[in-house]
């Protein structure tokens, strides 16, 4: 059964399998394991960005198309649904109208982009998409009477999906991090710590929306996994490895490439819709900024290009780092301030400097682990497997000799 769910594309590394299961369980039971609004928000974003990054990987990793306009499609979805809800009132029809309209727009624009990618060289394409995405952001900023401009717009989600919608019963959650922290810092009062770790989980529309997102993210991810392992995906890989040869074999690379751009863009649009509904507030900065496009690129590359699982790992690691690495660095910086000599470099470790270290990490990883976390884990697993087999063969030989 796992074979058909994962389309035969297994993680192929024990560590990776463990990591993926941990992420899956963490997200599935998240609201009951991690208390607090920051954690809740982070989990929602991870689900959304798994879709966005995985669809980006379809282009970057599977066809080597570098586009900076991916977030433009994300923005189509986010603004499409927000504007529909604004115009038609907070109901589900509006959501579907917004989704449909933005998907239609995405298809048209993605087709145009796909055709453009044939007219210009790959490197040109990257630059041109950058400029086009920028133009769209300017447009959103300028059309403030419908988009709210730089101030952004509130997304008036239907009541059923907001915090105001309450079901009567509260469930009980168990704060894993809090408990572990308590056990480590205060091992003598285990009972007390355990009692404090329980917290109430309110059953409201926010929780419902989170689970809608989670289920959609899981479903779309499995869909993409199926896509890349289908004959279609094999052609994409062939094009990536050698476009001339693929063309010579009779594949119209034109169609395949355009199809990838269209599919990836539609998925990004869905991601944008979910983003708007989860965060309930969108601004050009949070949906369209160049920096965000770079972040998506980072998530994809750090996780591992061309693996899809990489997008899960990349999005999770990056978003957790974005939200929690800051605290850690802040702690390091405070500690260094207090030390002699070290306080000169404390500035390098401030809470706001997390991006500096992520940038360094990123550059190093492109040099030394170009296949990202997933690629590296798989390489290690394959090496271990080879060593094990080599050993088995060697042992077999010695056994033969002695026998």
């Amino acid at each position: 059964m796992m074979h058909s769910i994962l389309s035969g594309d297994f993680p192929r590394s024990r560590v990776l399998t463990g990591l993926l299961i941990a992420i899956f369980i963490g997200l599935a039971l998240g609201p009951f394991l991690f208390g607090g609004t920051v954690a809740f928000r982070t989990m929602g974003l991870i689900c959304v960005f798994i879709i966005v990054v995985a669809s980006y990987d379809l282009m970057l990793g599977y066809t080597h198309v570098v586009s900076f306009a991916h977030l433009m499609f994300f923005g189509f979805g986010a603004y499409g649904v927000a504007m529909a809800l604004d115009a038609m009132g907070s109901n589900f029809t509006a959501i579907f109208v917004g989704l449909g309209a933005s998907l239609a727009l995405s298809v048209v624009v993605a087709l145009l982009l796909g055709l453009l990618s044939l007219r210009v060289k790959a490197i040109f394409f990257a630059l041109v998409t950058l400029a086009i995405a920028f133009a769209f952001m300017v447009l959103v900023n300028q059309l403030y009477f419908i988009t709210g401009g730089e101030d952004g717009m509130r997304v008036a989600v239907p009541r059923e999906l907001g915090p105001a919608f309450r079901m009567d019963d509260t469930w009980t959650g168990f704060s894993l991090v809090g408990w572990l922290w308590g056990v480590i810092t205060n091992p003598l009062a285990v009972a007390e710590v355990t009692r404090e770790a329980f917290f109430d989980v309110r059953m409201n529309g926010r929780l419902l929306m989170y689970y809608v997102t989670f289920v959609l993210a899981t479903g779309l991810f499995l869909f993409m996994l199926r896509l890349v392992n289908s004959p279609f995906g094999k052609v994409l890989l062939a094009i990536r490895e050698n476009e001339f040869r693929a063309e010579a074999l009779g594949y119209r690379t034109v169609y395949y490439r355009t199809a990838v751009v269209v599919i990836a863009s539609m998925l990004a649009t869905v991601g944008g819709v979910l983003f708007a509904l989860v965060t309930r507030y969108i601004t050009p900065e949070s949906t369209l900024d160049f920096e965000l496009a770079v972040f998506v690129l980072l998530m994809c590359v750090i996780g591992g290009m061309g693996t899809l699982y990489g997008s899960v790992v990349g999005a999770t690691v990056f978003l957790i780092a974005q939200n929690y690495l800051q605290d850690l660095l802040g702690g390091v910086s405070d500690w260094m301030e207090a030390m002699p000599l070290l306080h000169y470099v404390a500035g390098l470790f401030g809470a706001d400097r997390w991006l500096l270290w992520f940038g360094v990490l990123f550059v190093l990883s492109v040099y030394f682990f170009p296949t990202g976390i997933v690629g590296q884990l798989r390489t290690w697993a394959a090496e271990r497997e080879r060593r094990r087999q080599g050993k088995a063969v060697a042992e077999g030989e010695t056994a033969e000799q002695t026998g």
């Binding site: 080597h64 490197i123 630059l127 950058l130 400029a131 920028f134 920096e291 550059v363 040099y367 170009p370």
Partner: protein, 378 residues
Amino acid sequence: MSANISTMNGSSGGLRQRFAAFRDGYPHFFVLGLMVGVMLLLALVPYRTVAGPWLQAGEEVPALLQLFRLGFTTWFTLTVSGMAMGLMIFIMSSGMTLTFGLMSVLNLGHGGFISFGAFCGATVVAYLSHWGGSGSLMLTTGVLILAFFYAMLITGALGIFFERVVIRPVYGDHLKQILVTIGGAIILMELIHVIWGPTDLPVPRPDLLRGAVIFHDGVPLIGGAAIEIYRLMAVVVGLILYALMQLTISRTKVGVLIRAGVESTEMVEVQGYRIRMLFLAVFVVGSALAGLGGAMWGMYEQIVNAHMGEHLMIMVIVVIITGGLGSITGCFYAAILVGLINLYVGYLEPRLAGIATVGLMVAVLMWRPQGLIPVLRH
């Protein structure tokens, strides 16, 4: 009679052909002429002539015709200001286009150098603000030279480091170049935060460069036009730099090597030259120019922040693509086009300026996929 007709046909056909030849042979002049010409038309045709019928009837003049309100003095001011902006962008862009032309290296971290240069320049100007405030021509020139020189020195040095450490390992791999240089840009930007702090830095422009030159009303056509002194300075500096670059490229051995390298790096090596050293030199000069452009831009905006390079990169990218990747001449004209379209469109409809910039690029690419002045590559 028949001969007469044929010559007439010939001459009119010849005119069309000559126009087509001009359009394809000098696409940069063609687009520039088109843009300036349209604006000149709007400026020179009196508003009353066009809008007369509506004005007499007391009706509202259609929006499109209202564009004819542009007067010649305004046109003049806009054109000079557009050139000033364009030339500053040219200074920033030239390095990036040459780097690509010579080694096919795409440095998306170029914006980081622009920001860094802006901060270096701002530091000098702020430190020597009493010189700038003195109103003395010599001290003002001193501040400018020191600020620009310091910005170029630091960004040039950073360029050496960047080329050696960040770019060298990923020659020939565009995908990795894009990734690594974006990473490098993030690091540069964060370093600015570490060194100068997270807040914007104001740049006190020297007193002599404040205010505007106002042409005397008696001057024909442009009487009453006001042009900021700083923009005039930017035009002068930009034109001098362009002339220097053109001289270097057309007259010196280094220039011959650069042009040869753009055609084929391999054959330059076969002649016994170490192209890597040449490339390093070009990269360093390009970085220094990005720094200079950033410093000039910072003083122009009178405020700098770490993200400015990132935002300017959009214009830089539009310029180098529109001009034709690798071509200095193309870069120069495309930069001026971008500057002009920003000012022109910004005047007519401020909200469209940014979009017009990208629209210019898309339009040129539709017409000529390789940009205005394509670079031949083997």
